[in-house]
């Protein structure tokens, strides 16, 4: 790839990572004033803020690379559903608390492998964002791990719901480990991460955790894909409608 192509691809990657962080941050923020008790409410808000901050850093970098006058707000508020390239698992409705924590565990575990690699990127900005995010992800992962063990190993009802969440989410995890051409090229160039390499460790960690929690990992008998190409579930449109409503009502508004 030429340097220009690489820069264009890096911009695309920064946007994808920004989309991942923004969409999950928005989903988590829906727990504010809805969580099971006050401390969890605050914890959800804290983690949501970490993801929204992460989205701002990735979008800010994308704006710098685009150098066409667009800023982070243009990426967050002025793109439509098909222009968002986040993984589908992140846009699914928050469900019950077990669903939220199981999704969080699957994603935190993925992020912890992904960010550890992105820290070594030869792109200094991506490496810096990853190093910062990695520290926060350690806290996220400890919490989602503890919750899934507690819920899986808890009452009959909490176990049933946790296992069910795992079944409902499992088919959405496959695309996390299926980099497209752009992501493979960036990995080869030492900028991105080849996510295929992350799967074995991710699966291993999950198996150990499932044993501890008295859960079992589902069969790989179905998969839904499309996030990275902009083919979304119906949920993203609803999420964006809420996320972008103020900016659409008051174009160009700032806090």
């Amino acid at each position: 790839m030429s340097e220009d192509d690489l820069q264009q691809a890096t911009l695309e990657l920064a946007l994808r990572l920004g989309d991942d962080a923004l969409v999950l941050g928005q989903r988590l923020s829906e727990w504010v004033s809805n969580a099971p008790y006050l401390e969890e409410d605050i914890a959800c808000a804290n983690v949501a803020l970490d993801f929204i901050g992460r989205a701002r850093m990735y979008y800010g970098y994308a704006a710098e690379l685009a150098a066409d006058g667009r800023c982070e707000d243009d990426f967050a508020y002025l793109r439509s559903e098909r222009e968002f390239h986040n993984y589908l698992i992140l846009e699914l409705p928050r469900g019950d608390f077990a669903f939220t924590q199981v999704r969080q565990l699957l994603v935190d575990l993925y992020n912890s492998g992904f960010l550890a690699q992105l820290c070594r990127s030869r792109d200094a900005t991506l490496a810096a964002i990853a190093a910062k995010a990695m520290k926060e992800t350690r806290y996220h992962l400890r919490r989602s791990r503890e919750w899934v063990v507690r819920l899986g190993d808890g009452t009959e009802e909490s176990k049933r719901r946790t296992q069910q969440a795992l079944e409902e989410l499992w088919g959405y995890t496959h695309e996390l480990f299926e980099p497209d051409t752009l992501e493979q090229q960036l990995a080869q160039a030492g900028i991105g991460v080849d996510t295929r390499m992350l799967k074995a460790h991710w699966q291993q960690e999950l198996e150990a955790l499932a044993r501890e929690a008295g859960l079992h990992l589902p069969q790989n008998d179905w998969a839904v894909r499309g996030g990275r190409t902009g083919y979304h579930t119906e949920n993203l449109g609803h999420l964006l409608m809420e996320l972008q409503s103020i900016h659409r009502a008051y174009p160009g508004c700032q806090w």
């Binding site: 941050g25 401390e39 969890e40 605050i42 914890a43 808000a45 804290n46 983690v47 949501a48 803020l49 970490d50 993801f51 929204i52 901050g53 992460r54 701002r56 850093m57 200094a124 900005t125 490496a127 810096a128 964002i129 190093a131 910062k132 995010a133 520290k135 926060e136 350690r138 806290y139 400890r142 919490r143 806090w255």
Partner: protein
């Protein structure tokens, strides 16, 4: 005293712009007003080039809303001192660490009722421990973590089983 703090201190002491550093001590963390941005480890450098003052800061947490306020306050303080040309640069690497807090800042936090990072022994990967953070009110180490996520991104919530009060712990990261 952590080496990260010493590096910052050396930079400050070697700087010819002592008056500006002192001026910036007036900029406080809006959530923890006992800490200046110097104490917090956010203020990295103050330089002067081409007639413009350049302030370099490193954000604490990715989504900390206080950072916007801090930027605005830096600008306000410098403009009030008659500095027209100024630039605030954000430096992401190396990532901010709670070990960058100044020793004075840690003492002031404790007085304020918030346990500084050094009043606990970090768990694996440097995370908040389950127990044993020294209570800033009564000094007991018989304390338990309630949540690693407190009222702001930088704090965890604990309770003391000796004096029975809850308290914040400025968490290690």
């Amino acid at each position: 005293m952590s080496s990260d703090y010493s590096d910052r201190l050396r930079r400050r002491e070697a700087s010819p712009l002592a008056a500006l550093w002192e001026l910036l001590d007036r900029v406080r963390d809006p959530e923890l007003p006992v800490l200046s941005i110097w104490d917090l480890g956010v203020l990295q450098d103050v330089t002067c080039g081409n007639g413009s003052v350049v302030v370099t800061i490193t954000p604490t947490y990715s989504g900390c809303p206080a950072m916007e306020q801090i930027r605005a306050d830096i600008e306000r303080v410098l403009r009030a001192a008659g500095i027209e040309a100024l630039e605030i640069r954000t430096r992401l690497a190396p990532a901010w660490s709670s070990t960058w807090l100044s020793p004075q800042g840690c003492a002031r936090l404790r007085q304020y009722g918030v346990a500084p990072p050094s009043d606990g022994v970090a768990a694996e990967h440097g995370l908040t421990p389950d127990a044993g953070v020294v209570c800033p009110r009564c000094g007991s180490a018989h304390t338990l973590r309630i949540s690693a996520f407190g009222s702001t991104a930088c704090k965890a919530l604990y309770r003391c089983t000796h004096c029975c009060e809850p308290f914040d712990y400025f968490k290690p990261i």
